[in-house]
């Protein structure tokens, strides 16, 4: 799971900005400024599905794509990682100053719970 490429980020941004499931063609139109071929966008979408960042659903005979979780949910997940509140003392990330108060932590957990849990979350 390496970093997402610029294209992957552009497609995710387009999906998030849309706010509802979209087809490959619609995303290609959204990214018209980047002058991308439909096939390129489809390749990226398939990669995102493989990385469990995007889900694919059949709507009649068309394929619609939508993000697995919202931007806010991912931001909340990252913040919880830092606060050491998701993982158990693996010392994976140490933060500058442990000073988050409990209201913040509770709000973060709520933000994650309200959103559908990202399918790619590790156990």
């Amino acid at each position: 799971m390496r970093r997402a490429s610029g294209l992957e980020r552009a497609v995710m941004d387009a999906l998030w900005d849309r706010g509802q499931p979209a087809t490959g063609r619609e995303i290609t139109r959204d990214l018209a400024g980047r002058d991308l071929a439909y096939t390129t966008v489809m390749t990226v979408l398939n990669r995102l599905v493989a990385k469990q960042l995007v889900t694919r659903a059949m709507d009649g005979r068309t394929c619609r794509y939508q993000p697995v979780a919202s931007r806010e949910a991912y931001v909340a997940e990252l913040m919880l990682d830092v606060l050491g509140l998701t993982d158990d003392r693996a010392a994976a990330l140490t933060q500058f100053a442990r000073s988050v108060n409990r209201p913040d932590a509770a709000a973060l957990r709520r933000a994650l719970a309200d959103d559908e849990p990202p399918a790619g979350r590790r156990a």
Binding site: M1, Y74, L78, A90, A91, A92, L93, S99
Partner: protein, 305 residues
């Protein structure tokens, strides 16, 4: 039984050291030396319990652990070998191997778990992280109001600041925080934390182990503070810590929050009033002691052949 006794004594000394060392006042004044002492204590405590069991079980062979294990397995395989140990000694060897496997698994889970978390973290950051000219080109910004500053160690290191931190810190404080995080990356503090974290994972209810892990974590922060202070960010770093503290605890703090608050206070105080360094002779003596303590059980793994 002399080798088993060596391990037992080393273990007792390490445990005693872990109990007594937190009270040593110069640890916070010379964090690098203190970290070396803690590594010796933690490594000795990790190796010695296994050593006691294995040495007791392999005693008839009068060898170090690895050479003794080789003879032991030969004894299992062939009937015509040297003194066949009794059932008690077989059990001791088995117990030693089990304990080694348990600790090894904890090490693996810590290292692999940390790597996995960081990889996912890196992936999500590349999707939702932004950049801000205020933070500079070297840092990624996470759009969240809670203050946070941290780094992602590894082969592709990164420094991350939350929007809340960016808004709360002025330019000088920001530079100090970035210098602090660069220290963590440059000196690979994540590796320094691994032995204590792994030991804690293997024995999560051990009180001394928990204290050792917390002590190492705090010393690592102090070491990064010193690194930044050496680059003339001392006062700005102290102010940045003060800003974080002011934004932090609201409401009655629970145990973890209280500990975090006191850690912050200690870091601010030592930046503003650095204590006198203890005499070099005393520090060197303690380092030599710690090294001797760690090397004894480690050497008995391979010696005598």
């Amino acid at each position: 039984m002399i080798y088993a006794w060596h391990y037992a004594v080393a273990l007792l000394l390490a445990i005693g050291g872990a109990a007594v060392f937190p009270r040593c006042r110069w640890a916070h004044v010379a964090p690098r030396g203190a970290l070396a002492v803690w590594q010796a204590l933690v490594l000795t405590s990790t190796v010695s319990p296994v050593g006691v069991l294995m040495a007791a079980g392999l005693e008839p062979y009068h060898r170090g652990i690895v050479p003794g294990l080789i003879c032991f397995t030969r004894g299992l395989v062939s009937v015509h070998s040297r003194p066949r140990p009794g059932a008690g000694q077989d059990a001791a060897v088995a117990a030693g191997l089990l304990l080694a496997a348990w600790i090894g698994a904890a090490w693996a889970r810590c290292a692999i778990g940390a790597r996995r978390l960081r990889r996912r973290h890196r992936l999500l950051l590349s999707l939702v992280g932004t950049h801000d000219p205020a933070a500079g080109a070297g840092a990624t910004v996470l759009d969240h109001p809670a203050p946070a500053a941290y780094c992602l160690p590894g082969r592709h290191p990164a420094i991350i600041l939350s929007r809340g931190a960016l808004d709360a810190l002025d330019q000088a404080q920001l530079a100090a925080v970035l210098a602090h995080e660069r220290a963590h990356l440059a000196e690979r503090h994540d590796l320094l934390l691994l032995p204590a974290a792994a030991l804690r994972r293997a024995f999560p209810r051990g009180r001394l182990i928990r204290r050792a892990h917390d002590a190492v974590a705090l010393l690592v922060e102090m070491r990064a503070d010193d690194w930044a202070a050496a680059q003339s960010w001392r006062e700005d770093l102290a102010r940045a810590l003060g800003t974080f503290r002011a934004l932090g605890v609201e409401g009655p703090p629970d145990g973890a929050m209280a500990a975090a608050a006191s850690d912050l206070g200690m870091r601010i105080d030592r930046l503003r009033c650095p204590g006198d360094r203890p005499p070099a002779a005393a520090r060197i003596a303690l380092l030599v002691l710690a090294a001797a303590l760690a090397l004894t059980p480690l050497s008995l793994i391979a010696l005598p052949v």
